[in-house]
Each structure stands twice: as structure tokens, then as C-alpha cells.
């Protein structure tokens, strides 16, 4: 039994679950189409990296140029990553959420994701440009050797703890009166405003919380793969996460978990098993991507409500309305 591959898949699943819970909060529950989500994960990863790495002039690290390098011990890099995710959410939210209509938000955020990636790729002294940051020390690497099975189990356990924490927090938010306001705002914004809810403020808060959780997911991922470069967070990554939300079932946390298991882990990894020892090089790998695309389209066609659709909240006495708006709400 190869525990390294199993640990790899479990950690990736955990990271994707956390990311999707954050995205579900932003999109599934409060209807913000955050097409720049991957930027928050990237911010968390970069922050955790520069907080945990030694300065770039240190022995063995001097082939890369980057800011920071404080060699802080765990859990500071992870906390820093989460914090940074939330911090970056503030200016983005202030501009996009307060001033833009929702259909423009989507495309504006998409462009923002592209711009950020280009800027970091080009501005080499900031975060080492296209090469990214390598030799990121994994948490507790001075205590346990990262190249052992023990460490792998340990990392899976740490990720699992974070998943549980995030799940509890997000569930609390969703099932609280606060969460009801969010859902009301998503479905009937005018009505929500009429009873005194401030949609912009609610959206901002949710956006920031989503940013914090997204940043945490990046910190966990970078600690595991020990490298972070612009190629890891190109704009299609966000769309893949959205596909996961839709495939799993939007608006509910279990759906987000299912989506994480199915799309970024399931589709992308299962297609590696398409046998690649025949044919000219590159043919099967290209067809693996085609398979991923087909799987996504297939799911969207045959089961658009998701594997676990959002449970409808029915209140006695109130008529259940057939909600076309729900499907068009974004």
C-alpha cells in the first residue's frame, strides 16, 4: 500500500474541500460570483511561504528573490496565510461588491485574477516571478523528517483538523440567522433590503470570511508541495472549482465536499489511469484533458442540480414557489 499517494490524495481532497467550503459561502450561499477565488488561495500560499522560508540571501536559497523570509514556526505561517487572504478580500470587495452589478462582478473578478497572475509573473523581485518559490519548509520539518510515512499521516491529520474546523465554522454561519439573511439576500435581494438587511455589508463580510478560508487552503497546500509558482493558480483553476460546486450541488456544504472529491480530485486524478504506455507521446495525456472536459459537461447536462441538490427549506403555511429565478440568480 503506497501511503504517499494516498496521503497526497487525502491532503489534496482536504485542501479542495476547504477551498470549496469558502467558495460555497461566497457563491452558493450569498451569490457572489467570485471568479478570482484562486487569487485568495494563492495569496495564502505565498504568505505562508514567505513567512516560513529563510531570507532569500540564505545558503541554498539564493537562487530566488522574494520579500519576507522570517522563518516563523508553525502555526504562524498558516495563520498568516489565512489572515492575508482576508486582508486582500477587503479592497477587492470594496471596489467590486459595492460598485458593480452582479453580472459585471463576474467578469471583472475574472480579469482581476488574470492581472494578478501576470503582475506576479513579471515582477520578479517580489515573489520570484515565473519560477515561484521553491524549498518551502513544511511545518514541523525540523522535528519530523518530511520524507517519512509518519510525516505524511501527520500532515493528513493536520489537514483533517482544519477541514473539520472550517466545516463547523461554515455550518454555523450558514445555519445562523446570519445565514438566513444571506440566503434571503441571494434569492430576493429587494425583499431582504425591504426588511432592513444591508446586502452590501453582508456580502462584504462573507467575502472576507471566504477570503480567510481560501487563504488557509493555500497555506496548507504550499506546506505540502513545498513549491508555489504562477502556473499553479491560473484563472481556469477558479472555473474548475466552480464546476466542482455545481457538480457537487451548490448552496450546501455536503455538496461542496462531494464536489471537491469529484472534480479536482476525482476527475483530474482518475483520468491519469487512462493507460498511457501506447501511442505517440502526448496523445493520451491530451485525451486525458478531453476526458476531464467531457466529464464536466456530462455532469452539467445530466445532473445540473448537482449530486446533492440544495435542500429546499419549506415553511408550513407559506406556498412553495417554483423558483425559476434560482436557476438564473447568477
Amino acid at each position: 500500500m503506497n501511503s504517499y499517494y494516498a496521503a497526497n490524495l487525502l491532503v489534496y481532497a482536504g485542501v479542495d474541500i476547504i477551498a470549496l467550503l469558502a467558495l460555497n459561502l461566497q457563491f452558493g450561499v450569498s451569490g457572489i460570483v467570485n471568479f478570482s477565488f484562486i487569487v485568495f488561495q494563492a495569496v495564502g500560499a505565498y504568505t505562508a511561504a514567505v513567512l516560513s522560508m529563510p531570507p532569500d540571501t540564505a545558503q541554498g536559497y539564493d537562487f530566488q528573490i522574494y520579500i519576507g523570509g522570517y522563518q516563523l514556526p508553525f502555526p504562524l505561517p498558516w495563520l498568516g496565510g489565512a489572515f492575508a487572504g482576508g486582508l486582500v478580500a477587503i479592497p477587492v470587495g470594496l471596489v467590486v461588491l459595492r460598485k458593480l452589478r452582479s453580472d459585471y462582478q463576474a467578469i471583472a473578478l475574472l480579469v482581476l485574477s488574470i492581472i494578478t497572475n501576470e503582475v506576479i509573473t513579471n515582477a520578479r523581485p517580489f515573489l520570484n516571478g515565473a519560477a515561484g518559490l521553491a524549498l518551502v519548509p513544511p511545518p514541523f520539518s525540523d522535528v519530523i523528517d518530511p520524507n517519512t510515512e509518519t510525516y505524511q499521516y501527520f500532515y493528513v491529520a493536520m489537514t483533517a483538523v482544519c477541514v473539520v474546523l472550517v466545516f463547523v465554522v461554515v455550518n454555523r454561519i450558514v445555519n445562523s440567522p446570519y445565514g438566513r439573511s444571506l440566503r434571503a439576500m441571494r434569492e430576493r435581494e429587494l425583499a431582504a433590503m425591504a426588511i432592513g438587511k444591508n446586502p452590501v455589508q453582508l456580502k462584504m463580510t462573507v467575502f472576507i470570511v471566504g477570503g480567510v478560508i481560501g487563504g488557509l487552503s493555500g497555506a496548507i497546500l504550499v506546506g505540502f508541495i513545498q513549491l508555489w509558482a504562477p502556473s499553479v493558480w491560473l484563472y481556469p483553476e477558479t472555473i474548475i472549482l466552480f464546476a466542482a460546486i455545481i457538480v457537487g450541488g451548490r448552496g450546501n456544504n455536503v455538496g461542496a465536499i462531494l464536489g471537491a472529491l469529484l472534480v479536482p480530485v476525482g476527475f483530474e486524478e482518475a483520468t491519469r489511469f487512462i493507460p498511457s504506455s501506447f501511442g505517440p507521446p502526448g496523445l493520451i495525456p491530451a485525451l486525458q484533458w478531453v476526458a476531464i472536459g467531457l466529464l464536466i459537461i456530462g455532469f452539467l447536462w445530466f445532473r445540473p442540480e448537482g449530486v446533492r441538490p440544495e435542500p429546499r427549506h419549506v415553511f408550513e403555511g407559506a406556498p412553495v414557489r417554483e423558483d425559476l429565478e434560482d436557476a438564473r440568480a447568477s
Binding site: V33, Y104, L110, V111, A286, W289, I296, P304, A327
Partner: protein
């Protein structure tokens, strides 16, 4: 100083290339509400069609027409067999974006085994070099500028003076009302995909000519520039896309002259960020900015 003048000339070429792509993209978004992430892949496919024709000895100008036709047909078929069925099923806007991404993945990776990973070039794409008052351009580059100007005039004429154009603008503004007023929205949508598909294909060939050397991997870059220009001008506004193209194309070259050239795209995108902060709906967007119902 003459570096700036030369850069200005280059900016004219750059903006021409971007304009054709951006106008097509923004019209797709404005009228069909689709953020079509497969746009770049259709561009690069059309560029390859023109390449094979060019390799058979035909001049690239004919190849351009072939690319435009291919783009038109390809986009039309994409809509007919993929996008439209999903939309009729009631797929949300997000779902459509996801579908378009899946389509772009499939196109890029189906094309890869066919055309290979080598970069290729068109033949005979330089023409003579002309110098005038500090501007240094080849005849082909001037021709590209000319093509772009003609296309912009045609688009303007289409939208302003033809019935189809008016129907397109009406459908963009309010599809239900348009249909109720007797506009055959389905046929209008078909026409939109054909026309914007042709723009997409033409833009692909022009962009490939402009780069001198292209491969499948360039498709993503084409999309990004078109998208940026479209959003800068106001998503869905064709005239906005033209302005966005002018700004991005010119700023890119001028900043390469003024500062470190490897940051030229950073500067252009920085301008975009600035505009988005000050006027997030884009320069020409007529609709209200506030987060009203919708």
C-alpha cells in the same frame, strides 16, 4: 524621443490586433450573455487553418478570409450543438462559463495531437519596411491596421444602420421585450454567432501574423488580451471594446519604451486595475453601476 514615436507606431498595430478580437468577444457577451472562454481556442484554430492553407502556397490574405469563415462556422456550430442546448435547459450563467471552459480544454487538447507542439510561422508576412517621421512599420503591418479600421467601420455600420444590427442591440438590451416586439431572437442569435465567430477567426489569423510565431499555447494569451480590452471598455459595449483596445495596445508599447519592457503588460494591466477601481463597470457602460436588483 524617436523611440516613443516608433512605439506609437507599434501601438497602432497592437491596438488593431486587439480591437478585432475584443469587439467580437464583447458582442458575444453583450448579446448572448456568454463569457465565452473558448474564444481564444477558436482564434488559434482559425490561425492554424490559415496556416495550412498558407503552407499549400496560398497567400495569407486569402488565408485570413478562410480563417474568418472557419471561425464563423465553428462558433455557429459550437452554439448550435453545445451552448444553445445548455441554455435552453436553463443552465445558469455560471454553468455556461463552466461549459465554455470545458469546451476550451477540449478544443486545445484535441488540436494538440493534430497540429503538434511546434511553433509555426506564416510565409511572406513582412513586406517592405516603411519609415515616416520616426514611425517604422512594414507594409503588412500597415495592412493589418487597415483591416482593423475597415472591420470597425463595418461593425459600426452593422449596428447603427442595418435592421440586423438594431435587432442585435435590442436583443442585447432586453431579450424578452425584443421577442415580444417580433424580433426573431433565435435568428438574431444565430447571426450573432456567425458574425462574432468571423471576427474571432479573423482576429486569430491577424494575431498569429502579428506574433510571427505561434503555437496552441498562445490561445490563452489571445483570450486574455481580448477579455481585458472588452472589460476595460465596458463588457458588452462594442465601441467600448474598441476604446479598450486602443488604450491597452498603446499603453503596452509606450510603457515598453518608457520603462523596463518586461513590465509592459504589467503597466497595461495596472491601468486596467485603475479604471476598474474608479469606474468598475468599464468606460462606456451605460447601465447603472450600483448593485441594484439583478
Amino acid at each position: 524621443m524617436d523611440l516613443y514615436v516608433a512605439a506609437f507606431g507599434f501601438g497602432l498595430v497592437g491596438m488593431s490586433v486587439i480591437a478585432i478580437a475584443a469587439v467580437g468577444f464583447t458582442m458575444q457577451f453583450g448579446i448572448t450573455n456568454m463569457i465565452n472562454l473558448a474564444y481564444g481556442e477558436v482564434m488559434i484554430s482559425s490561425a492554424y487553418v490559415a496556416y495550412y492553407i498558407n503552407r499549400a502556397g496560398v497567400t495569407i490574405w486569402v488565408g485570413m478570409i478562410a480563417g474568418a469563415l472557419f471561425g464563423a462556422v465553428f462558433s455557429f456550430l459550437l452554439n448550435r450543438f453545445v451552448y444553445s442546448p445548455f441554455q435552453r435547459k436553463g443552465t445558469s450563467h455560471i454553468g455556461m462559463v463552466i461549459v465554455s471552459l470545458a469546451v476550451s480544454l477540449m478544443i486545445a487538447n484535441l488540436l494538440l495531437p493534430i497540429v503538434g507542439y511546434y511553433s509555426v510561422s506564416y510565409q511572406d508576412t513582412t513586406g517592405g519596411l516603411l519609415r515616416a517621421g520616426g514611425i517604422v512599420l512594414t507594409t503588412n503591418q500597415i495592412a493589418i491596421i487597415g483591416v482593423a479600421v475597415v472591420i470597425m467601420l463595418l461593425v459600426h455600420g452593422l449596428l447603427r444602420y442595418t435592421r440586423l444590427g438594431k435587432a442585435m442591440r435590442a436583443t442585447a438590451a432586453n431579450p424578452t421585450l425584443a421577442r415580444n416586439c417580433g424580433i426573431p431572437t433565435q435568428r438574431v442569435i444565430d447571426a450573432v454567432w456567425l458574425i462574432t465567430g468571423a471576427l474571432c477567426g479573423l482576429a486569430g489569423v491577424v494575431a498569429a501574423m502579428n506574433s510571427d510565431s505561434f503555437a496552441i499555447a498562445n490561445g490563452a494569451g489571445f483570450l486574455i488580451t481580448a477579455l481585458a480590452a472588452a472589460v476595460l471598455g465596458g463588457a458588452g459595449q462594442p465601441y467600448g471594446a474598441m476604446i479598450g483596445a486602443v488604450i491597452i495596445g498603446m499603453i503596452t508599447e509606450l510603457s515598453a519604451a518608457a520603462w523596463a519592457p518586461e513590465y509592459k503588460e504589467v503597466v497595461a494591466f495596472g491601468i486596467l486595475v485603475l479604471v476598474m477601481v474608479l469606474r468598475p463597470q468599464g468606460l462606456l457602460s451605460k447601465r447603472g453601476a450600483l448593485a441594484a436588483a439583478g
